[in-house]
Amino acid sequence: MELLVNSVLLMLLVATAGALVVVRGLLASTMLTSVYGLLSASFFVTMDAVDVAFTEAAVGAGVSPLLLLLTVAAIGRGEPRAAGALPILAIVLVTITGALLIIGTLDMPPFGSADAPAHTHVAPRYLQLSGEEIGIPNVVTSVLASYRAFDTLGEVLVIFTAGVAVLLILATPGQRGSARPRYTPGSHSEPHTILQVVSKILIPFILLFALYVQFHGEYGPGGGFQAGVIFASGIILYGLLYGLPTVCRVVRPAVVETLAAVGVLLYGTTGLLAMLDGRPFLDYSVFAANPVLGQHIGILLVELGVGITVASVITVIYYAFANQFEMAEG
């Protein structure tokens, strides 16, 4: 049964990717990308990677199509062009890479075998000892926020960098304070009454759900990153329906920009506290005499930092993109 689901999903993925090769319109491509993200998220569920699936659903099927849509809105759908000559160079390169990949898989341990080195060397410790050492059921969160917490700090920094980069790239010359939207009175000619009403009901629950995901990440799938994305999507939904100026009055860009930095700093400071005590960076045992409790507190703080930064950066990026769209309109 599992094999069947697995194969069907893979076939659908191939079909979607194939369609993406053929389709030329940008809007259709965007939709297909979203489909691809959703399908891969489903595939991740069948592979037991629930946390990853959650993230991929939020990112692959959510944020990234949203950004693509905003871009397409700013630059236009672009008219489909006739296919040019057969890209021989591309085909050759792709074939070589593919052949190399196939060669690479030949000596790999078979799919799903429990005695593959990957499952016998480092990972067992996480599964066997994290219950005692960290004391939370979600092993992924344990590894993410404690064993490999430095990677996650890097991850937060990556998303922070993305925010900085987008602001830097989209900053309009002559405008004060980077790429922030201008505060113009609402110019939407047509109010989306139904959508607005429904969203008014839904947005509080979306934000509540984000908080749930944030603080429930130790027990089930979820965590700071997913929570941040969901929280930001609530804000974005508001912005889409009520217009950029309105959302900017509610959630001020300057505040969000500062919060993006604050999240990273929160993460960093959590690590620094251990250093002040003479212990390695990100050693959570400084927070409590009981090491397991210390881990709890540390993970909580760190995940909070992740959530704040992710939510802020995605909001910031949305602001910057939407601003470009409005400028293109105006």
């Binding site: 191939v14 940008l26 037991d48 990677a49 946390d51 990853v52 990949l101 196939i102 990972a123």
Partner: protein, 117 residues
């Protein structure tokens, strides 16, 4: 040990190649980014596939379950997904600026315009 045990990997290879092909062969910059996205996501699928243990459960410790899938690839891919979206957003920001500067997002048009001046 049969072909089936590698079936997953090979399908993933096909996915990667489709993504990689879009990146190289398509002249539209947005399409390039989409291809990049597909390429990266396919690599994620490869990683996650290797983390699967047949008969294992999701790595959330539960009473009475002893066999779990490998959590480490999951952690890595969580990070990698974030990297992917970060790259996509920076790339799209560039595309918007390029469109504003050139009036096109087609590589060939842009190349032509640059050669003219």
């Amino acid at each position: 040990m049969d072909v089936l045990s590698y079936f997953n990997y090979w399908v993933v290879v096909v996915l990667m190649m489709l993504g990689f092909f879009i990146v190289i062969a398509r002249a539209n910059l947005v399409k390039k980014l989409i291809g990049l996205n597909i390429f990266q996501t396919s690599v994620f699928i490869l990683y996650i596939s290797t983390g699967k243990v047949a008969g294992g459960a999701a790595p959330i410790l539960t009473e009475g379950v002893t066999l779990y899938s490998n959590p480490l690839p999951h952690v890595l891919i969580l990070t990698a997904i974030v990297v992917g979206i970060a790259t996509t957003s920076v790339g799209l920001a560039l595309v918007i600026r390029i469109h504003a500067a050139y009036g096109s997002v087609n590589q060939n048009d842009i190349l032509q315009q640059d050669q003219q001046c």
